[in-house]
Symmetry: D2
Subunit: 191 residues, 4 copies
């Protein structure tokens, strides 16, 4: 087994700020990154990038060249990570995520980020359809919009579990199972 | 606007039989096909095809070369339709669906079939991410497994509506809006 | 190493007939198939499939549902093979070839068929870019059009060799290196 | 018709320097960019980006984060252009080039850059297979390796012409045909 950690849309353009809705999840994602480092597993930040030519109706805070594309300070630095932009909703949308995972020999992806009903759901589906084993980190994902009804997160993880046959685990259980610290000098990421 | 109708997994291998769970939906999908013909819109049957080499855990009733791949009798004949196999869950999975729609100049897809929490959901997401306008036919889709909890269909269509910004319409409304009969001699499908 | 054999466009629609231009290559491709079977390697026939809706200028002998799509009699039967349609020029064009190879764990592709300046060239490039090791069978490929200038085959194989870093080998050498007969009972294809 | 200009691998990592082999082509590509601006056509710089995890045998001057990825000074600034990285040889390799062209409504691509036997050839093939009209700028492309035999450029453009049915035009003819200056205030790029 060779796992990688995919962190979705934890970028400035999504408004993660101390005190903002759902901000407490950021600390858990930070723990996830540290656990991945300790285990020698590759971390990939994947977030949206829009171009002015995209011909989309809504205004975007994730335009190419804008600050919105930067990983939030709490998850910096990113010098050991891989940064990939997705062009639409899924982490695999019109980019090199599959190619990059494949050339590294990754067979398992641990998915964190927001929102569960959006990018997490589509990324889990695409990862599964590209035949990676999928693990979604239950408490490192959320529905990052207050307008969604209660139970939206659980509804999406239920689909992920029953349809995609993916594991949905809390952070601690996922670390124990997939990100056990590797012995010194045995980085798993470089395979 | 140039719509096409995508009918997902209405194949023998999925066990659609008079009296079987959800069978009453078949008559509505039949009406949808007839409406598409009357409107001159292309119908595409898209269903799963597995190969013995796929290395999947579960047994499949949709193996290449098997009867399971045939469109169910109620939706025959298919001589005016396009038949495309999807290799995994989404209608766009590792096949020529996007290419075929694109070369026809299709800009809008009307999606029917089962299950709402599975292929309908992923197909809607991929169609949206490939920038087709997406319309899901509410009463021509269902969760085709009795083990799913009540509300599963509604949970999925809520995501389709709120996240994918797609329309979710009952058959009659969709026909009125997207499949109005074309004047004689003006097939829209051949564009 | 787990090789598979890809045979491109050896279908009725391309006019392979006793006495026709280049027909002598068919016997060598037959030998290749037999060698693959003896070695337990998977054979994949990949050829073009066009749809009436494709909006292409030229008339096609490879329309969906037509006889042109059948593998030529000399390479029948195909019951142990996988048959995949490519939608345009490359063997990987808008289909499940990559997915199918990947799920089988194939890492090396041996390419035969015609024409060297067309589908062979693009298939080799796509296989290389999807990170398969590429071997092109020099005397099992040809430029299957008499109007091409002399040296066209060699020009294409030179690009395949120098740019794609692929091996270009005659059939006998390729069999010796990649398709050595497997001991009885040890089919490699089913891995 | 809505053309875009694709400039391949004119990046620092490829060693374009005054006096270097083939450097005189740079001035013509500069003219091409200016003509595209005058015509209101979008310019896209597309060049290679490798990651340390790519597991490729050769050393790369095009690593993510390195100076090699910068467009050469002669073709700066790039503030009106779109910059896209290709992950391997073709300009369409594992990235958002097709998506970006498609969302802009581009139907015609004018291709320049190097090398003709490598990225130009594969990019032309992929553009054609994604059904763009392809125009290759004969004197804005070259084989950017002195070790290739004479006639390599012509061999590749012959394939582009005869197999891909693409136009191969010198810069002046291409400007006259596809990049005629648009009237003031009528940018074509923003469509």
């Amino acid at each position: 087994m060779k796992p990688a950690v995919i962190i979705l849309d934890m970028a400035k353009g999504y408004g993660w700020q101390p005190g903002s809705f759902g901000y407490e999840m950021v600390a858990r994602v930070r723990r996830l990154k540290d656990a991945a480092y300790a285990a020698g597993a590759q971390v990939l930040h994947v977030h949206s990038m829009r171009r002015p030519t995209d011909n989309l109706p809504e205004h975007s805070t994730m335009l190419a060249g804008s600050d919105g594309l930067e990983v939030i300070p709490e998850l910096q630095p990113i010098d050991r990570d891989i940064l990939i932009y997705k062009r639409y909703l899924s982490g695999f949308s019109h980019n090199d995520l599959d190619y990059t995972l494949r050339t590294m020999g990754i067979d398992t992806v641990l998915i964190a980020g927001a929102s569960t009903v959006n990018t997490v759901l589509w990324t889990a589906a695409d990862a599964h359809q590209n035949r990676y084993k999928v693990v979604v980190l239950d408490d490192c994902c959320m529905v990052h919009r207050q307008t969604e009804p209660p139970g939206a997160h659980e509804g999406a993880t239920r689909i992920i579990r029953s349809v995609l046959k993916a594991e949905v685990l809390p952070l601690d259980a996922a670390i124990a199972k997939y990100l056990a610290p590797s012995p010194p000098g045995e980085g798993r990421g470089e395979g």
